[in-house]
């Protein structure tokens, strides 16, 4: 199945774009989507441990299942509010 991937801030810059699509097998999780996008863009790999995740504009755990057509977002550490 195919999911939409959104990258923000430094992740977006490292990948060279905000919006991507990934092919993942049925039953894939948010973590599987991360591995797919990081395989396409190895510069993202250092964020493996610090990335936060969202599914359809809600925060999601890495273990959350994704469905065909979902929007999955990866967020580097945040720095708003100042």
């Amino acid at each position: 199945m195919r999911v939409n991937v959104q990258l923000f801030a430094r992740l977006r810059e490292l990948a060279g774009g905000a919006d991507w699509t990934c092919e993942v097998p049925t039953g894939a999780t948010v973590a599987d989507v991360w591995r797919a996008i990081a395989a396409d863009h190895p510069a993202l790999a250092p964020f493996e441990r610090s990335v936060s995740c969202a599914r359809n504009a809600e925060f999601a755990k890495r273990t959350a299942a994704v469905a065909d057509g979902d929007d999955v977002a990866f967020l580097p550490p945040v720095s708003g509010g100042a």
């Binding site: 430094r10 504009a57 945040v78 720095s79 708003g80 509010g81 100042a82």
Partner: protein
């Protein structure tokens, strides 16, 4: 108390994430009006304005850009407002964050907290800014004369009880 519905009423006055300059007055007035529709109204409004500073860790900043994941930021601000209401006697909290390019001296974030009494208003406002820094999907990009840098702070996890405890501690101490 129906706090969620009231927070929502405040939220629709203006977008929570905007490229336009932020006005603390309009947020305070909106909160006061909203509080009047409740029983006895609020007696205290505390607000916070975060201002772009000219230097960061000794380097001279030319300007900043903020980026946000807007739909998630709006939900996150609503969650923070609910948390603050739960902790501080139904305090009414509104949060606005600016995005795009900001000059030195401009406001990047404003928060207003209305409550019956001043202690709750101060605590709710401080709690909210601590939580914004912890979990709001917003990023600061600093531009210097000789380069630029993304600022990376907290790993956003709204379900992290320890982070919430730290925010409460800072709000009340």
């Amino acid at each position: 108390l129906g706090t969620n519905a009231q927070t929502y009423t405040v939220m629709i006055v203006s977008p929570a994430v905007t490229t336009s300059p932020l006005s603390v007055e309009s947020l305070v007035v909106a909160l006061e009006r909203e509080a009047q529709t409740r029983g006895e109204g609020c007696g205290a409004v505390c607000s916070f304005v975060g201002v772009v500073r000219a230097t960061h860790q000794g380097r001279s900043v030319t300007y900043l850009e903020y980026e946000a994941f807007a739909p998630l930021a709006e939900k996150t601000f609503a969650q923070i407002s609910r948390e603050a209401a739960d902790h501080f006697g139904g305090a009414l909290v509104a949060i606005r964050h600016r995005v795009g390019r900001l000059q030195i001296g401009e406001a990047s974030v404003i928060i207003a907290a209305a409550a019956a009494h001043r202690a709750e208003a101060f605590h709710a406002c401080r709690y909210a800014i601590e939580r914004v820094k912890q979990i709001a999907p917003v990023w600061k990009h600093e531009f210097f004369v000789d380069g630029h840098a993304w600022v990376e702070g907290a790993i956003a996890d709204p379900a992290d009880d320890e982070a919430r405890r730290v925010a409460l501690e800072r709000a009340c101490a």
